[in-house]
């Protein structure tokens, strides 16, 4: 299947909110594609619009937020689909797991009831078969003594186990795309690693694609094929993960990489990015990153640079991508 149409294709997605007499863009013209079996990472600071982008894909965004643009899933625009048809896609073809396993499970239903409900809605199983399958699923996501734990309530599970249970519920219908909204952020580091490995293992087994939202570059490096870096509601750089880490071509990505320690590299002082991202209400006219950027020139402040191809499979919205790349390549 060479160069098949992408499974998911988001184009010019805009999420806005009306406030204080104006309309502010929280997500401003995001376009991205996800191919079959691919893991796409969406990385950015808090408030960069990455979670909103993810939630807009399955129309989880409620008024007063407004969504415009196109989200094509196997050629169908999900943003225009009637609710009943959308519900046939949700859960069955596209599943979502959330950041807080604490709140994403219904506290008054047992874990088993919630898995069975998902199975009942999507798999066509019923009766004893459904319970057996639920136990198998729970076992599959790595819950020890699944048969005994299936009648437990979520509060009887630890954080990592809850995340596993949520994954079991999400994957009950064997979806083709998993949207993971910071699935490991609320967990401690060792559990993070286990959950990521679990997601990757299930991805391989089920032949899913995954969109992984995170603010953790380590998570990206460990699990993604391709990365899109978001800043102030836009994608500023997009590239295969190895290329992006080795040779960033946007000043912001460069700043991100410089601000975290990388294992296996020579020790060097960390350089945090000065300042904070601009609020949607007072973004500068040109490049949103310009006020915090060491490379910025007058050109950056005039107009927002477009996201253009700067290398093979490598998109960047930085006027100085060559300088950034050249400096990154220097030892």
């Amino acid at each position: 299947m060479a160069a098949a149409a992408p499974l998911l294709s988001v184009s010019d997605l805009r999420v806005s909110i009306a406030a204080g007499g104006g309309r502010w863009m929280l997500v401003d013209g995001v376009s991205l594609q996800v191919g079959a079996g691919e893991v796409l990472g969406l990385v950015g600071e808090s408030g960069s619009g990455k979670s909103l982008t993810l939630r807009s894909i399955v129309r989880l965004v409620r008024p007063p937020l407004q969504v415009a643009g196109e989200v094509r899933w196997r050629g169908v625009n999900l943003l225009e689909l009637p609710e009943s048809q959308l519900n046939a896609v949700r859960g069955r073809e596209i599943a979502v797991i959330f950041q807080e396993p604490m709140t994403a499970l219904n506290p008054v239903l047992t874990v088993g009831e919630q898995i069975r409900e998902s199975l009942y809605a999507h798999s066509g199983l019923d009766g004893p078969a459904i319970r057996k399958r639920a136990i198998a699923l729970l076992d599959h996501v790595g819950i020890p003594a699944a048969r005994a734990r299936i009648d437990d309530y979520p509060h009887q599970f630890s954080g990592g186990m809850r995340q596993r249970a949520m994954i079991a519920i999400a994957l009950a219908a064997e979806p083709k795309l998993l949207l993971a909204d910071e699935p490991t952020t609320a967990l401690d580091v060792t559990i993070q690693d286990q959950i990521l490995k679990l997601i990757l293992r299930l991805k391989a087994e089920l032949g899913m694609s995954v969109v992984l939202v995170t603010h953790d570059l380590g998570v990206i490096a460990q699990s993604c094929d391709r990365v899109a870096v978001m800043y102030a509601g836009r994608i500023v750089e997009q590239a295969p993960v190895a290329m992006l880490l080795r040779e960033p071509r946007h000043a912001y990505t460069r700043g991100l990489l410089d601000s975290v320690p990388l294992a296996g590299h020579a020790r060097r002082p960390l350089r945090p990015i000065a300042g904070a991202p601009p609020a949607p209400s007072d973004r500068p006219g040109g490049c949103s990153f310009a006020p915090r950027c060491g490379y910025a020139t007058d050109g950056c402040r005039i107009a927002s640079p477009p996201l253009i191809e700067v290398g093979r499979d490598h998109l960047s919205a930085c006027l100085h991508h060559q300088r950034v790349a050249a400096e990154a390549a220097r030892p």
Binding site: L60, N87, R90, R92, A104, N106, L109, I169, A170
Partner: protein
């Protein structure tokens, strides 16, 4: 420090058990009375006994007799099932209807919420008792009309409570998770949100049943609720109002029964609330 904390925790647990248990015992007592009045009551509640008119409490008549020589204790016991029925029927429609309406309003919001807001305004503008008395006097006195009057007004309070609960719960991730699992809206409202919101409804319901009995008794006293010679606690209190100087016991014991039932429901509600809080 920790010993002290333990003591505090211990005492709190004791208190919670207390209110739940006392509430259950009180209500159990009245339930028993209403289930088998003939078995518990020493006399026929309607039988006149001209040889024992206006007798104070004694071994023969523990709560005394009224101006027709009827045994107060027996009348009290026979009245229990009417008052418990009042507690139930003044609230059951408001609970069910109000909960459902509140769930929809809270979930969908928008123009439905606007409309609901106006209805609430309309109802809460009038004092509760005044509007109920108005409706009853239009429909005519009697228990059934009283149930109708209370139901017309009472559901609003449950709906308001439920609306607020659903509005908070629907923000939770598990509601979003339900939506992205492709579940229908009705399923999310009734299977996922409602059980998470029902706690406060139940607690309010218990208090409301106590108020229902008070209301039933008040209307009975005013002659708008249960009609004599039906034995209803409010009617019994009213029976004694001309004899307060000579036969205080005629009004006193039914009054105590009203207080104890109300207390029973309140304690039960408290106990359930405590339990729900601890379960969280």
């Amino acid at each position: 420090m920790s010993v002290l904390a333990e003591k505090v925790v211990h005492r709190r647990r004791q208190r919670f058990r207390g209110s739940l248990v006392i509430g259950l015992v009180l209500l159990g007592l009245f339930l028993l009375a209403s289930a088998a009045p003939g078995w518990l009551a020493p006399y026929d509640p309607l039988a006149f006994d001209m040889s024992a008119i206006l007798k104070p409490p004694s071994a023969l008549h523990p709560f005394g007799t009224d101006n027709f020589g009827r045994d107060i204790l027996s009348r009290l016991i026979w009245a229990a099932h009417i008052d418990l029925a009042i507690a139930l029927f003044t609230t059951v429609f408001p609970v069910v209807f109000g909960t459902i309406v509140g769930a929809f309003v809270g979930y969908y919001g928008g123009w439905l919420d606007m409309l609901f807001g106006r209805v609430v305004d309309l109802v809460v503008t009038f004092p509760f008792l005044v509007i109920v008395i108005t409706i009853v006097s239009v429909l005519g006195p009697g228990l059934l009309n009283m149930f109708i009057a209370v139901s017309v007004v009472g559901w609003v309070f449950y709906a308001r409570l439920m609306r607020a609960e659903v509005m908070t719960q629907k923000q939770a991730d598990y509601a979003a998770a339900g939506r992205v699992l492709g579940y229908g809206q009705l399923r999310i409202i009734f299977r996922h949100l409602l059980p998470n919101c029902i706690g406060s409804i139940i607690v309010y319901w218990m208090t409301d049943m106590a108020l229902g009995i008070l209301l039933g008794s008040s209307l009975g006293y005013l002659g708008l609720g249960a009609q004599p010679p039906t034995a209803e606690w409010g009617v019994l209190v009213a029976d004694g109002k001309n004899f307060l100087n000579t036969g205080w016991w005629i009004s006193f014991f039914p009054g105590i029964a009203i207080v104890l039932t109300g207390l029973g429901f309140s304690l039960l509600g408290d106990g359930i609330a405590d339990r729900l809080r601890r379960g969280r």
